[in-house]
Symmetry: none
Subunit: 401 residues, 2 copies
DNA sequence: AGATCACATGAATCACGAT
DNA sequence: TATCGTGATTCATGTGATC
């Protein structure tokens, strides 16, 4: 039975942490390629906790996860009053419309509660993803703004094959919305693999509208009778893009509405760690079985290419010391409009002011700022060379050392 | 002076309705093709009222308009420093006073007030459109749900040519969101021209994601010195699709944030009546002059504007997500001279450098540029397949999207 | 006349580490 | 915590000048 294979989140909430619920045959999941340091050992990594997500999150240590992906319940009329109404109120009205309208406050309370619990668990630079449709996403967006989250983007998942509108009364509802938010407006150091996404998009910035098919075919979990196990299983491609964009290998991703574990499956494949929380033992069991069959991609393919900003800093003085540029030499911009003289201390002199390559570059152009490395050029045999190429040579020699 | 040509909304609010503010030389605008019956004669049709939109709406008779289109302030939270492009030029951002709110609660209060005023003016089967971005749309959506509006769709305006993200810190913010809502859940008789939209969309249901260019070129209103008159003028194509979908000829469209009158211009062209409310006399004057130059299309030509097809740009990442190529797989050129490994983020790795299919293709050949789509091949059962064929398969699934 | 290039610009919550 | 110096960063489209 699924329930025998589960980790009880309530037990975890009482600090009686036990991972023995995971079947012994289950392999270790998602060995981290680059484990984050200082992670509390009490985190139930690569585990599916069964129980209420708010209690389970409140039992986790604060500031302990790098990313949250949440696919909360959308529909306010599911009749699952226990989940949607933390105040335990139950609406017996048969009138759907009244039910929906009356339940906004309780849905909002539930939303605020789980968003607050998630925020506590997030590291200062962690980010949160939430997916929803027009039924709930406005409630979610307002709540997370009210709680101090800082929205970075809203992302449109454009469905390749949406369900048509059968009655012809509306536009085909062909998309869902994801909100990507940092923990607060001050969280400037969040992870975003800008260059990787750009490189995977023909060297153009990745936009906020993503075209991805629904989860169908072999990817869709089915039971013995061929029925879908979960009504709203998300495509792995969607999760892959979010995790590639906003996490590093080894990062911990928390999913408080784990369902059948798409987040865990993708996290494991991409060398991330996961913590799943799921109320339904059947879903949790299906998720475990699914994730056990996933293999992590090779570490080499997961390595994050260093960004330009992360490369070692090279003083312009080093370029002179290395002999690429001589003191007393004249530098010009690419078109030869501006000139400055190289001083032996690594500063430039335009005849009036002495300063850094950046400062003098900005000055001669009358601009507030300038990247001197790409602005200034040397001339050798009538050919102009950007001084940034000398920096690259020095960096290459540093890499070998 | 603009202020001499305006209709004072405050005066209208005091029931001292006067349309003499409209210059005598101004032609009658937007003669209705099929006037709706029972319209109160006191409606200031095809007029721009100047003043506070809430007061002006409260002065209109209840249940009198067929549609509302609203482009409220977005409550953008601008950094103090402003934003510089990579070439150090400054972005002409929205920093107008009308977009400044002290806090979310004050924005929410404003939003609730104008939404409530609009709802009173709406006929029982009228619908409301609101456009916004992630800065404000969640507040708006929550507020209108709270007020009893019934959301029919959220629509994504995918911008053909959005402003890039200059700092590489986020996804390109390439869309805005429209909410389409009826006055209440009981409003079952709202107008929706399903068949017309389908007919104008190659016999496919019109989806909730619309691909439309920004308002630029001749359509963009400019002052004598070539500067844009309004910072956020919307494209007429966007308004045209909303009005064609949700109104009939002769219907009255109310725009409480009229700006430079895109709603009025499109309404007149399509044979709808309009009521514009605008706080700024300068904008109102520009709107009047603009609308005066519009001619109503003949009845026969009131067809759905043909949908602009999205340039079906496909990221190489999508090819991996779709399973055509696996992360970790090796790609070669047609003759098998060069090799590179596919990364899960859609980049290639030739063992030394990580980059896009184009960049690595160029690199291995020592060429300045390369079309990676036609250069790289997979090998299956000894047969080589160009990765461009996978792109074509994905494009086939994008038909209609 | 047509092609090419240089430049401008659009609702934007847009840096970061060392000292 | 604040200040300061380095130096990273853009896509589609329209307009007007130049070849």
């Amino acid at each position: 039975m699924a329930s025998q294979r589960t980790v009880a989140a309530d037990a975890f909430a009482r600090k009686q942490v036990s991972r023995t619920g995971r079947p012994a045959s289950s392999p270790r999941m998602g060995l981290p390629a680059q484990p984050s340091p200082l992670r509390p050992s009490s985190l139930p990594l690569d585990t599916v906790l069964v129980g209420d997500c708010i209690a389970a999150m409140n039992a986790l240590p604060a500031s302990s996860v790098d990313c949250v992906f949440a696919d909360p319940p959308y529909n306010l009329q599911l009749g699952d009053a226990g989940l949607l109404r933390p105040d335990q109120s139950r609406v017996d009205a048969v009138d759907d419309d009244w039910d929906k309208f009356a339940s906004f406050p309780s849905y909002d309370a539930f939303t605020r509660e789980w968003l607050a619990a998630a925020r506590r668990v997030m590291k200062p630079n962690a980010t949160l993803w939430v997916i929803g449709s027009y039924h709930n996403i406005f409630r979610v967006g307002s709540a997370l703004q009210d709680l101090g989250y800082w929205i970075l983007n809203d992302i449109v998942w454009r469905k390749a094959n949406p369900m048509p509108n059968f009655r012809g009364k509306r536009f085909t509802n062909a998309h869902e919305t994801l909100i990507w938010a940092s923990r607060s407006a001050e969280s400037k150091g969040y992870t975003f693999h800008y260059d990787a996404l750009k490189g995977g998009n023909e060297d153009l910035q990745m936009r906020s509208d993503w075209f991805i098919p629904l989860c169908t075919g072999d990817e869709r979990l089915k039971d013995d009778e061929g029925r879908k196990v979960h009504p709203t299983q998300k495509p792995e491609a969607l999760l892959a893009r979010t995790l590639l964009a906003a996490t590093n290998p080894g990062d911990v991703v928390l999913d408080p509405f784990f369902g059948t574990g798409t987040t865990g499956a993708v996290a494991k494949r991409l060398g991330r760690r996961f913590i799943g929380i799921e109320r339904d033992p059947g879903y949790a069991a299906a998720a475990r079985e699914r994730i056990a069959g996933i293999e992590t991609l090779s570490q080499a393919s997961l390595l994050v290419a260093p960004t330009k900003r992360a490369e070692p800093r090279v003083p312009f003085l080093s370029v002179i010391e290395a002999g690429h540029v001589r003191a007393g030499e004249t530098l010009t911009d690419e078109r030869g409009r501006f000139r400055a003289t190289v001083r032996p201390d690594g500063q430039l002199d335009n005849g009036l002011v002495i300063g850094s390559i950046h400062k003098i570059g900005a000055l001669v152009q009358g601009l507030p700022a300038c990247n001197g490395w790409t602005f200034w050029h040397t001339e050798r045999n009538g050919r102009k060379t950007c001084i940034d190429s000398f920096r690259n040579e020095i960096r290459a020699t540093m890499a070998g050392a």
